[in-house]
C-alpha cells in the first residue's frame, strides 16, 4: 500500500483513458475495469503515483484503459518489470494485471518469486480458465479433460490451485473475488491495496466467447449460495441459501456440516485471516466437489517487504561506511605513482 495524500478528490472519470476499450462485448473484463475505475478514487492515491503493469493476453490490455502510468509488457514478465519499478521508486502504487496463462504458465517462475520476495505490489489475476487472445486453448487453470482447440481429446494436465500456489510461494496476502460480484470485488480491491506486501487477488472472470459459464455455479442466482463460502474475518464460516451450512474442523480435517441440531454456529470455524494453516485448508476447497468455493481474503499477514529491506540496507551501509566516495574507491587497493 502507498500512503494516501491527495490535493483534490479524484473521480471515476479521472481514471478513464481516451482509448477505446476493445474486449469482446459481454466479457467479464468490463466489470473488473469498471470496479477498478470506481474504487480507485476512494483509495486516495495521487493518480501520478499509480502504475499498471501487464503481460500479454486479453486482461493485459487493461493498462491502456486506465489514465495512470501503464506498461503493457511481454508474456509472463509483468512481475519482473513491476519489481524493477518498485525498487527504482518504492513510493509508487504498483499493480500487476495478469491472466491465468500469463501468470501461471509462461510467467509461473516470476509469479512465485514475486510472492516470496514480498514487494509491496498488487497482483490482480483475471482467471477465466482459458486462453482467450489466442482463441481458445486450455490454460493451466482449466479443468482436467478440457476439450479445446488444442486438446480435442481432452486436456491431460491437472489445473493449478492459484491461492494454494501463492501460499506455497510464501505470499502474504491471498484473496479471491468474482467479476459479477461488483461490491465484493470493490471491497477486495481495497483490501488488496491496503495490504503492504505482495497482494494476490484472483478474480474469476467469465470469457463469454471461449469458456462461457465456467463459473456459473458461483454466479447463477439459483445455486450460488450453496456453492460459495464468503469469508469474513472473525466470523464463523456459514454458507448456503438458507444459511444453514458451515465449515467444521475435526482436527485439521475440514467438513461441511448442517446447522440442524447436532452442530450449531459455535461449532464452526471462525475465519482468522492471519492463520496460514487455515489459509491452506481454505485454498484446498478450490476445485473440490465436497466444499464450497471460498471467496474473500483467505490469508493476510504483514511481513517486511523486499524494497524496505533493501532501502534499509542502503541506509545502514551509508551510516556505517559513510556516503560512497568514488575518488576514494578508484584509489583503493594497491596503487602506485609514475612520475
Amino acid at each position: 500500500m502507498v500512503e494516501s495524500i491527495t490535493s483534490k478528490p479524484l473521480t471515476r472519470k479521472d481514471f478513464i483513458s481516451d482509448q477505446d476499450v476493445r474486449w469482446c462485448p459481454g466479457c467479464g473484463d468490463y466489470s473488473i475495469l469498471a470496479q477498478v475505475q470506481k474504487t480507485f478514487p476512494e483509495l486516495g492515491i495521487p493518480k501520478e503515483k499509480i502504475v499498471f503493469i501487464s503481460g500479454i493476453g486479453c486482461s493485459s490490455r487493461f493498462p491502456y484503459y486506465m489514465k495512470t502510468f501503464g506498461f503493457h509488457t511481454i508474456h509472463g514478465r509483468a512481475p519482473t518489470i513491476a519489481s524493477g519499478v518498485k525498487l527504482a521508486n518504492p513510493d509508487l502504487s504498483v499493480w500487476v494485471i495478469t491472466g491465468d496463462g500469463d501468470s501461471l504458465s509462461i510467467g509461473g517462475n516470476h509469479f512465485i518469486h514475486l510472492m516470496r520476495r514480498n514487494f509491496d505490489i498488487n497482483v490482480i489475476m483475471f482467471n477465466n480458465e482459458i486462453y482467450g487472445l489466442t482463441k481458445g486453448q486450455y490454460s493451466p487453470t482449466s479443468e482436467l479433460g478440457k476439450v479445446t482447440k488444442s486438446t480435442p481429446f481432452g486436456s491431460l494436465d491437472r489445473p493449478f490451485n492459484p491461492p494454494l500456489l501463492a501460499l506455497g510461494a510464501a505470499s502474504t496476502f491471498v484473496a479471491r473475488s468474482i467479476d459479477k460480484m461488483t461490491h465484493h470485488l470493490q471491497d477486495m480491491l481495497k483490501r488488496t491495496h491496503q495490504h503492504k506486501g505482495t497482494s494476490f487477488l484472483e478474480i474469476y472472470q467469465n470469457c463469454n466467447i471461449f469458456n462461457d459459464g465456467a463459473f456459473k455455479n458461483l454466479t447463477d442466482k439459483e445455486v450460488k449460495d450453496d456453492n460459495l463460502l464468503i469469508l469474513e474475518n472473525g466470523k464463523p464460516m456459514i454458507f448456503g441459501s438458507k444459511k444453514n451450512k458451515g465449515i467444521h474442523l475435526d482436527g485439521f480435517k475440514p467438513e461441511v456440516v448442517k446447522l440442524n441440531g447436532k452442530f450449531s454456529v459455535n461449532d464452526l470455524v471462525v475465519h482468522e485471516e492471519s492463520d496460514r494453516n487455515l489459509g491452506g485448508i481454505l485454498s484446498n476447497f478450490t476445485h473440490s466437489e465436497k466444499f464450497p468455493t471460498p471467496i474473500g481474503v483467505l490469508y493476510c499477514e504483514e511481513k517486511p517487504t523486499y524494497e524496505d529491506l533493501l532501502y534499509d540496507q542502503i541506509k545502514s551501509a551509508k551510516k556505517r561506511l559513510g556516503e560512497g566516495d568514488l575518488e576514494a574507491l578508484l584509489h583503493s587497493g594497491d596503487t602506485w605513482i609514475i612520475k
Binding site: 503493457h72 519489481s83 524493477g84 556516503e323
Partner: protein, 618 residues
C-alpha cells in the same frame, strides 16, 4: 631493499620482457599466486598484461588434466599490449599442469616444478608414462625440480597446522621464489595476507613463512645463480592501479551513476564470466546502488526495464546463453525506447560451450539476436582498462538517445588485467539527464515526441503529475505513443528507430590509426583483440612493412570515417575470435574484399598468429 637481501656472489641480469605462467590444480591457489605476482609487478612500475585461464569445474578431481588452472603474466620495461605468446617460465604444481602447458613453453625456457607431486599416481593420471623430471623428455628446457610440499612442511613444522593447511601454502612458496627470481617486493603480499586472513592469525603466519621460505630458497641455495630485473615501463604520469575488465565495468557504472545523478540499478543472474560484476556492485550499498539477483535471466532484464521506466540508471550483465534468454525483453526495451545498458561478457558457445574460455562470437547476436528490426548500439571495449570508459560511454549514449546499449566484453577482458591510470572524475564528459514535465492543463503529454537532434523521446517518470502515459510492446504511433497498426506509421517507426541508432555515430571521435593512414595493409579489429593486433603490427612495422592498425570500439553504428579509411589501403585484414562476423559486416557495408584470420580455440590471439597471417598475405 632487494639488493640488501642479496648474497653478493649472485648476479642480477636486466631483461626487457618476461612471460611467466603459474599452473596447477584448481585448488592449488594458482589464480591467487598469479594475481599477487601481478600486484607486486605493477608496483615496481612494469607494464603488464595478464591472462587467467581456469576450468569451469570448481574442483575437478585433483591431479587430472581437466582440473588444471593457470595464470599467465607478461611484464615489461616497455609498453606492452598482451599477456604474451610463448612462456619463458612455467611454474607447475603437478604433472597434469606440465602436460597441459608444456607446449606453450619457449624452447630453452624454464620449468619450476613441485617435485613432491610427481608421484606415480599423479604421473599416470596426467598421462606421463615415466617421470619427465627423471627421464630426458625435458632436455630442451631448464628444469628446476623442487620439493615444494616438503619444504613448506618443514618451514611450518612447529606450527601444528593440519597437513592440508600446510599443503595449501605451497602456492606462496612458489610465489616467493618467483619474487626472488624477478626481484619483486614481498611487503605488499605480506600486507595483503594480514588483511585477507585477519581472523585467522595462524594462516597469516603460515602463508608468510611459506612465502619467505620460497624467497630465501632462491636467495640462499646454489640452484639459482642469477636473478632478473625488469625495469619500470615508460608509462604516462599519474596514479595507477591494476584493473580487470569486469572490475572496470563496475567502476564505470558507478561513475556514470554519479555523473548523471541517477541511482544505479543492477538486475542480474549469476553466469560465468559475468557474475563478478554483480558481486562487485552488491558491495556498493553506501553508493545507493541497488543490486537485484533475479530468479532468472529474463527476470533480470525485466527488472532492468522496470527500473529504467521508473528513472534509474538500469543495467544488466550476462553472457551469451543469458543474453539469448533476454532477447524478447530487449525487443521491448527497443520498442519502448528506454535507456539501459546490457553487458555481454562473451564466452565460448554454442549453448553452454566452454564457460570460462574466451570468444568474440556474439557480435551477430548483439546486432540481430531479436525478432524483427530491432537496432541497438553496440560498443566493444578494447582492453581491461578501456572497459571503464566504454561502460561510461554506453551509459551516456543510452541516456542521451533513450536507447538500450550493448557492451560486448569477453572472458579475456573480464579476467585479464593491466596497469590502469586512474581517471579524474571531473574530466569525464558530463551526462545530462532531463525528465519530462507537466505540459500544463490545456496540453496533452506525448511520450513519443522526439528531440530534433537526437530523436530521443521524452523520459516521463511515474510519479510526475501531468505526464501519465501508457507504453508497451505493441507498435507505437509516432509522437502520441498510442497503439497503432497503420502501415505508414510502422514504416516511419522502423525508420526512426534505425535512424536514431545510426545518428549516434556523430558522437564518435575520428578513428585512431596506428601507422600510416594509407598503405599496403590495414589490420582492422574490434574489441579485445586490440592488444594482440597492436603488438603484431608494431613488430611488423619494425621490420619495415607498411602495415597499419585500427580498432573498432563502436561496432554499431560504424564510425562515419570508417569507409574512407578502408579504401586507402590495398588490403584489409580482420582478425576475429570467431568464424568471421565483423568481416561480413565490412564486406556487405563497404563492398571491400577483406581477408579474415579467425580462430575458435577458446584462447586469445597470440601476436605470432597475426604476424604469420600478415606475412602470408603481404
Amino acid at each position: 631493499m632487494m639488493k640488501n637481501q642479496k648474497i653478493k656472489n649472485k648476479e642480477i641480469i636486466n631483461v626487457e620482457s618476461v612471460v611467466i605462467r603459474f599452473a596447477g590444480d584448481s585448488g592449488d591457489g594458482i589464480q591467487l599466486a598469479g594475481s599477487r605476482f601481478t600486484s607486486a609487478t605493477a608496483i615496481v612500475g612494469n607494464d603488464l598484461g595478464t591472462y587467467p585461464d581456469y576450468p569451469a569445474e570448481i574442483r575437478a578431481p585433483a591431479g587430472t588434466l581437466a582440473g588444471v588452472s593457470a595464470y599467465q603474466i607478461q611484464f615489461s620495461s616497455k609498453d606492452i599490449y598482451t599477456p604474451g605468446d610463448m612462456v619463458d617460465v612455467l611454474v607447475v604444481m603437478n604433472p597434469a599442469a606440465l602436460k597441459v602447458h608444456l607446449s606453450d613453453l619457449k624452447p630453452g625456457g624454464t620449468i619450476i616444478a613441485n617435485k613432491s607431486n610427481f608421484k606415480s599416481r599423479n604421473l599416470k593420471m596426467a598421462g606421463w608414462e615415466s617421470d619427465p623430471l627423471e627421464d630426458d623428455s625435458l632436455s630442451n628446457y631448464k628444469v628446476y625440480d623442487i620439493e615444494i610440499s616438503r619444504l613448506v612442511s618443514s618451514a611450518l613444522e612447529d606450527m601444528n597446522l593440519p597437513s592440508k593447511t600446510v599443503e595449501r601454502t605451497k602456492n606462496m612458496f612458489a610465489l616467493g621464489l618467483m619474487f626472488w627470481i624477478y626481484t619483486r617486493p614481498l611487503e605488499p603480499t605480506i600486507k595483503w595476507l594480514k588483511v585477507k586472513f585477519k581472523s585467522r592469525p595462524e594462516l597469516v603466519e603460515g602463508n608468510i613463512r611459506a612465502l619467505k621460505a620460497g624467497y630465501n630458497f632462491g636467495d640462499i641455495t646454489e640452484i639459482f645463480p642469477v636473478s632478473y630485473q625488469v625495469g619500470p615501463a615508460p608509462l604516462k604520469k599519474g596514479t595507477y592501479r591494476n584493473i580487470t575488465g569486469n572490475y572496470a565495468i563496475g567502476l564505470g557504472l558507478l561513475a556514470a551513476s554519479q555523473k548523471s545523478g541517477l541511482p544505479l540499478f543492477f538486475g542480474g543472474y549469476p553466469i560465468t564470466p559475468a557474475s563478478d560484476i554483480l558481486h562487485q556492485l552488491s558491495h556498493y550499498r553506501n553508493f545507493g546502488v541497488k543490486t537485484f539477483q533475479a530468479e532468472d535471466e529474463i527476470a533480470s532484464i525485466g527488472s532492468v526495464i522496470g527500473a529504467a521506466f521508473a528513472g534509474n540508471l538500469a543495467v544488466t550483465a550476462s553472457s551469451g546463453p543469458g543474453i539469448a534468454l533476454k532477447g524478447e525483453a530487449l525487443g521491448l526495451a527497443i520498442m519502448t525506447e528506454l535507456p539501459m545498458v546490457i553487458i555481454n561478457v562473451q564466452r565460448v558457445g554454442p549453448s553452454t560451450g566452454m564457460p570460462t574460455k574466451t570468444e568474440q562470437a556474439d557480435l551477430f547476436q548483439a546486432l540481430w539476436g531479436r525478432n524483427s528490426e530491432s537496432p541497438m548500439p553496440v560498443i566493444a571495449p578494447i582492453s581491461p582498462g578501456d572497459c571503464f570508459y566504454a561502460t561510461y560511454e554506453a551509459c551516456r549514449i543510452a541516456l542521451k538517445y533513450m536507447t538500450p546499449v550493448f557492451i560486448l566484453s569477453d572472458a579475456l577482458l573480464a579476467n585479464g588485467s593491466e596497469p590502469w591510470l586512474i581517471p579524474e572524475i571531473k574530466q569525464l564528459s558530463p551526462i545530462d539527464v532531463k525528465f519530462a514535465v507537466d505540459p500544463g492543463e490545456d496540453s496533452v503529454f506525448h511520450p513519443y515526441e522526439r528531440d530534433k537532434e537526437t530523436l530521443a523521446r521524452k523520459w516521463a517518470l511515474p510519479g510526475t503529475a501531468g505526464v501519465e502515459h501508457r507504453i508497451g510492446g505493441l507498435e507505437k504511433e509516432n509522437i502520441t505513443g498510442n497503439v497503432n497498426y497503420n502501415p505508414d506509421n510502422h514504416q516511419l517507426m522502423v525508420n526512426l528507430r534505425a535512424q536514431k541508432v545510426e545518428s549516434i555515430a556523430r558522437e564518435f571521435p575520428a578513428m585512431d590509426i596506428y601507422g600510416d593512414t594509407t598503405g599496403d595493409l590495414l589490420v582492422l579489429g574490434w574489441g579485445s583483440t586490440f592488444g594482440a593486433i597492436r603488438a603484431a603490427v608494431e613488430k611488423i612495422r619494425d621490420e619495415g612493412m607498411y602495415v597499419s592498425h585500427a580498432q573498432l570500439r563502436w561496432v554499431n553504428p560504424f564510425p562515419s570515417d570508417l569507409g574512407e579509411i578502408l579504401v586507402k589501403f590495398q588490403k584489409i585484414l580482420i582478425p576475429e575470435l570467431n568464424t568471421g562476423q565483423l568481416i561480413k559486416l565490412i564486406r556487405s557495408e563497404f563492398l571491400i574484399d577483406a581477408v579474415g584470420v579467425n580462430i575458435s580455440t577458446g584462447k586469445p590471439f597470440t601476436k605470432s598468429q597475426i604476424i604469420e597471417k600478415i606475412q602470408s598475405i603481404m
